[in-house]
């Protein structure tokens, strides 16, 4: 077993066990901690694949940002230190059945496929993070020359010089709207307390 494979199996096991932990535990803080491990080991898998930008993003956004938010959310809204979510037996049975069904469908589908053929274009290298960042800022000249694969009989159409400025800008508009929505939610709450 190569080092790569060994590391993959370790990370995969940690991810799977932590994910089950999130679903099984009824204490919300514990669930958050399990989620921390699940997300971090997913980042590890990204690093193992050489996608260091994605791995770093996963660590910063999910492990760093979302996790803190969850814990803060619990801290600010919970009445006691340990919130327990009671789950009835019927809910357990239904969600277990749905989850297992989805899992078996996905497992069957994924076991059927052959590993993809290694017809990677000759000049294919992994993208340095710097270039991705520059492309997000609209510098299309730093976008690496990726190819659109899977087209008609081995014909690769070059997908060059796409800047990700448009999606980036759309996301900024999303965030602006979310901020305003959040501000209204917070303000409405305060006003209601004033009335009461």
């Amino acid at each position: 077993m190569t080092l790569h494979a060994a590391l993959f199996y370790i990370l995969a096991t940690v991810t799977a066990i932590s994910a089950i932990g999130v679903a099984v535990t009824s204490n919300i803080v514990r669930a958050a901690t399990w989620l921390l491990f699940a997300l971090a080991s997913t980042a590890g898998i990204y690093f193992l694949l050489g996608a260091d930008f994605l791995g770093a993003t996963q660590l910063i956004v999910y492990v760093g940002g979302t996790m803190i938010l969850v814990v803060f959310g619990v801290m600010l809204t919970a009445s006691g230190p340990f919130v327990n979510m009671k789950v009835g037996a019927a809910e357990w049975a239904i969600s277990l059945a749905v989850g297992l069904l989805l899992y078996s469908v996905l497992a069957i589908v994924l076991l059927q496929i052959e590993p993809p053929s290694r017809n990677i274009p000759p000049n294919h290298t992994l993208l340095p993070s710097k270039h991705i960042g520059a492309a997000l800022l609209g510098s299309s000249s730093s976008t690496p020359e990726a190819k659109v694969t899977g087209l008609r009989g081995g014909q690769f159409i070059p997908r060059t010089r796409v800047s990700y400025l448009l999606p980036f800008e759309i996301i900024s508009v999303h965030l602006l709207v979310v901020l305003i929505g959040a501000a209204y939610l917070a303000r409405a709450k305060r006003r209601r307390e004033d009335v009461a």
């Binding site: 589908v109 299309s140 087209l151 008609r152 159409i157 010089r161 999606p167 759309i170 209204y184």
Partner: protein, 552 residues
């Protein structure tokens, strides 16, 4: 080729000029609302922005060639397989629908909610209009998803802002949670699609799935078929929430009832039109492919969804006395009728060029449904403005005597929802049912086995048309019940007189659209046909692949 690409990609933001204007105007409104509280000022600014966006669209129309008319095939292919947004006739159609919807919503929302929220409210409506246009133009999974979210996120605020009461908050929360869940499903489907094809470009995905060669994964590794089917189911589930198709419909009645009348009207129309636009794009119904990209199972899936959705929607609507709940179930039923078009569309390739194919019928029905449903919510909104909220069937009693004009307009919309001749609803239903029936008549010549199969399919689609017709009859019952309440019963407490507000104008526009689309359907049908039909080169390709489709 490099130069061509550079020109093509440098040029792409300019075709988004209308959306950019709407986005900037939204920012101006968000900022401006902090120093000036006036619904009239911000409503006027929003209208001006929409008009400006319309002018920008007109100028873009004169400076850009739609990709279908691009003379150099290689150049067109290069753009198609690399640009994140495309300037197509389909996109232009949706931009136009988006702008008109935006104007109607701004007019309807003029007097909605507190005056201090007017700026933010109108800004969100502008972003929703921009999102509709962007969905029509998107040619990349990422752009498509962001465009859909550009509609969902402002929608949460539009639901939340105007009425801060417990039921409205519950409605907003319910919509928010389920919408986020459906977006998750959609992204999960997208990720599988990306995994199979290696690209996020929608044209590239359809090409690599063998859309133009009559089937799923003919070019990719055959065993990957399962992955494509999983992603198909996930995408249909994610978008099914937006179009209120049956397993994902259950939020609609509660949310419509809890929120304000205008927001309910918006929810009935906007998510539906973008949901169908995204489905049409992802399944390859637009342009040079025949909608078989995701496999021949897709029509069966849509057949079942159509039958269940319209039946359940109509039967549950029979029990409703709250008009908003009734219109919610009616919205579900209409989603079912539209799904007929998607189920039929892949079977209609290779039929004569004059026949309307299912996709055209779906787009026409969407526009018609928008006019009549926004119109009927507009009537309720206008009636509610003078104090008493009109929510229940009993509130409409005697309207024919007390408010003869309002009653007449409402009856027009109800007749259109039933599908009476001379209204838009009739043309839409006629086209859809006719399509389903004509699968039977387009049986190809050929060997006995193929003919037998085609006959069986024809029967199946004939049955679907029959289910649709029965449903239209069930639907007539509850719409006519409203009409009879207005005309045949005496009002005990008549509603106060109607104030003339911008919403009245929106209602009149909807009524005119309903009548015009009903009497002169070709005004809309011919642009739709032009936008949906494949180019001549594409038609030849599909015709050449036709026999393969029949064999599958």
């Amino acid at each position: 080729m490099q130069d061509n690409l550079a020109i093509a990609l440098m040029g792409f933001p300019s075709q988004l000029l209308p959306e950019i204007i709407l986005g900037l105007a939204a920012c101006v409104l968000f900022l401006g609302a902090t120093w000036k509280v006036s619904r009239h000022v911000w409503g006027t600014v929003a209208l001006a922005a929409l008009v400006l966006a319309g002018l920008a669209m007109w100028s873009v129309h004169h400076s850009h060639t739609p990709i279908e008319n691009e003379p150099k095939a290689e150049f067109a292919d290069t753009i198609r397989f690399s640009a994140p947004v495309l300037y197509t006739k389909f996109g232009v159609l949706f931009k136009l629908i988006g702008l008109i919807t935006g104007v109607l919503l701004v007019l309807l929302g003029w007097d909605e909610g507190g005056e201090e929220h007017a700026g933010e409210y109108h800004a969100c409506l502008l972003l929703i209009a921009a999102g509709i246009g962007l969905t029509g133009a998107a040619n990349d999974l990422i752009t498509l998803f962001l465009a859909l979210e550009l509609i969902s996120i402002p929608t949460y605020i539009v639901l939340y802002l105007p009425r801060i009461t417990a039921p409205a908050q519950e409605a907003a929360m319910k919509y928010f949670l389920l919408s986020v869940f459906s977006s998750g499903l959609l992204l999960f489907g997208f990720s599988y699609l990306y995994g199979v094809t290696g690209t996020t470009n929608i044209s590239g995905i359809l090409d690599s799935l063998g859309a133009s060669q009559g089937g799923i994964a003919t070019r990719a590794v055959p065993t990957w078929r399962g992955l494509v089917l999983v992603s198909l189911v996930m995408i249909v589930a994610g978008l099914g929430f937006r179009i209120t198709a049956v397993p994902f419909h259950f939020y609609a009645p509660d949310v419509y009832q809890g929120t304000t009348t205008v927001s309910a009207g918006m929810l009935a129309f906007v998510p539906k039109i973008v949901g169908f636009a995204a489905l049409l794009k992802l399944l390859g119904f637009v342009g040079d492919s025949n909608g078989q990209a995701m496999g021949s199972q897709a029509p069966i899936l849509f057949w079942i969804m159509a039958a269940v959705t319209m039946t359940l929607g109509n039967i549950l609507a029979l029990w409703q006395t709250n008009i908003k709940r009734l219109l919610a179930y009616s919205s579900i039923a209409h989603a079912g009728y539209m799904l007929i078009g998607l189920a039929v569309a892949p079977r209609m390739t290779g039929t004569s060029a004059d026949a309307v194919n299912g996709v055209e019928a779906v787009v026409f029905y969407l526009a018609a449904y928008g006019a009549m449903t926004l119109g009927s919510f507009a009537v309720l909104h206008v009636l509610s403005q003078s104090g008493k909220t009109v929510e229940n069937e009993d509130d409409l009693v005697g309207l024919g005597k007390t408010h003869p004009v309002m009653a007449l307009v409402m009856v027009l919309f109800l007749f259109s929802l039933i599908g009476m001749p001379l209204t838009a609803g009739f043309v839409g239903k006629f086209l859809l049912f006719f399509d389903a029936m004509s699968v039977f008549s387009s049986i190809p010549e050929g060997n006995a086995e193929a003919v037998r199969q085609a006959t069986e399919q024809g029967r199946l689609y004939g049955l679907l048309a029959l289910i649709g017709a029965v449903n239209a009859a069930i639907g007539a019952w509850y719409y006519l019940r409203l009409a009879s309440a207005m005309y045949l019963r005496e009002a005990i407490m008549p509603l106060p007189a109607v104030k003339t507000t911008p919403a009245v104008f929106a209602m009149v526009v909807c009524a005119v659209l309903t009548l015009v689309l009903g009497m002169f359907p070709s005004t809309l049908l011919s642009p739709i046909r032009e936008a949906i039909r494949p180019t001549i080169a594409g038609q030849a390709k599909i015709a050449a692949d036709g026999p393969k489709v029949a064999q599958r």
